[in-house]
């Protein structure tokens, strides 16, 4: 297994309006991106489990080929900046994605799997 942080170049989150947080996972290596897509390892169900949310709060999930990216959006429990807010811009909500495990087969080659993390140029 490899961690998502080892194969994706950008993993980020940010508000999409006051009621949603948008997440982007961008891959620099087209081969890795295609293999992650084909692996079926990134699914709406898995995101809902990771963040502990009901499926109806996952308002978008999909791949975005032009940027070699996966993208999803979660509806907030309360609008951003309401009393009790912890992350007004939603900019640290991506952290749990870093440790998400993917099959090692998404790496460029078996040899490369041994030095995961240095495989993305």
């Amino acid at each position: 297994m490899v961690r998502l942080a080892q194969v994706a170049t950008t993993i980020r989150s940010k508000n999409a309006g006051p009621d949603c947080i948008s997440f982007d996972i961008i891959f620099q290596d087209p081969g890795v991106y295609e293999r992650v897509k084909a692996s079926g390892a990134l699914t709406p169900q898995r995101i809902c489990r990771l963040y502990g949310i009901d499926p109806e709060r996952l308002v978008y999930f999909g791949a975005f080929d032009p940027a070699r990216a996966f993208k999803f959006a979660i509806r907030r429990a309360r609008p951003s900046g309401s009393p009790g807010e912890t992350d007004v811009m939603g900019s640290q909500m991506y952290a749990p994605l870093l440790d998400l495990e993917l099959p090692a087969s998404v790496l460029p080659s078996p040899a490369a799997a041994g030095r995961a993390g240095k495989t993305v140029a």
């Binding site: 508000n15 032009p66 640290q92």
Partner: protein, 468 residues
Amino acid sequence: MAPVAVTAGAPPAGAGVRTVKLLSPTGHLGFTPIEPDSFWAGVAQQPDAIVADSGSCDIGPHALGADEPASPRSWQTHDLELILTASRRLGVPMIIGSASDTGTDRGVREFAAIIRELARQHRLPPFRMATIYSSQDLDHLRRRVQAGAWTRGLDGRGPLTVADLEQTDNAVAVMGAEPILEALRRGADVVIAGRACDPALFAAPLLQAGFGPGIAYFAGKLLECASFCAEPFAGKESVLGTVDAEGIVLAPMSSYQRCTPASVAGHAMYERADPYREYLPGGYVDMSQCVYEAVDERRTRVRGPRWVAADRYTVKLEGAGKVGERALMIIGIRDPHILSRLDEAVAWSRRKVGERFRGDGYQVYYHVYGRNGVMGELEPIKEIRSHEVCVVVEGVAPTRAEAMEMTNLAGRNFMYARIPGLQGTAGAAAFMSDEVLPARPAYRWTLNHVIEVADPMELFRLEMEDVE
């Protein structure tokens, strides 16, 4: 309605074949100062307009609710001075939207005053300034809703109600390109707009040049955050967008950045739920057929955006309302026994607060840094893995005095938390200081809706003046 409105009037001869260059120096004017080197490099490219937005709803509901700027006036002035002096030297329009963070009438008036003062200081030749106001009269909106205006709540909210409006202190309508285009048609050299869709600021000069709304708004979408569409990551560096019949070419004006197909496509999907659609008044840009290709190592061309007109012409409303007065207290906990039973300490504090403060107007939040202080309910890690935690107590109450007293009570009761087996019987918490910190009042986003209008100008007021 929409496409008719934005393409109304005869386009200039050679429409769509002319090349228009737009300079984008910052993704949020005044938020932190513009980097001057790449800005002047961009000015040397002789852009046809310099465009920047100055607002965001990312900063939370406080700025709009209280109608206060979120940026220092000196930084706003710094950025406006660069853009005004450069655009007057070039003789091209400058377009600023969402003035002073909120885009309220206060923001427009303050920016217009800064422009007049800068014009005087620099002894600029006379020019025409347009101010476009977007603050909304809440009674007027209430009457519209009561008269059955078509509205829709965004992101899972229900249609706009009178109750939503009653909880709102300040509301703005978010303009499309039409009011800005109208200002340009009336000869504006400087446009200070209230709350505006960021892409609309860039779209207006492109529509004026005869481009269609698809490429015009799409160009705006790519340019509105300036150097965020380039790599490596950097803010406040200028980016030049060159639009012609073939599409848009993006070029960084800093020496060290590149606009690559990946960086530009990555930005096209930034800060939105759906990466293929950019929603605007009157329709959306369909980005699903866009092609991103490298022109050279530092520039990227994008082709293929398509405008899809909506059945209704709607304008977005943003509103924020005050929830109450607010105070904070900072508590530290180090004893592993208390950390293992932290929920009981929180429950004790909550119980003691509940004995004195009851009702909807009183809210206490416990931000436990070291457990889920950052992510709250979305945090997957449930147990404490740290040897210490920080608890920030946040209290909200109808009056400042009650907020201070209630927060003090909630914080001090961590000292007296009754936890079985506690060996440290002299106090179950460490106070960084036995002190309650007054905080800004609490606000909430009350409006995130769209409302149908008959005319794109309907909710906006355009004024023209000569600055001499």
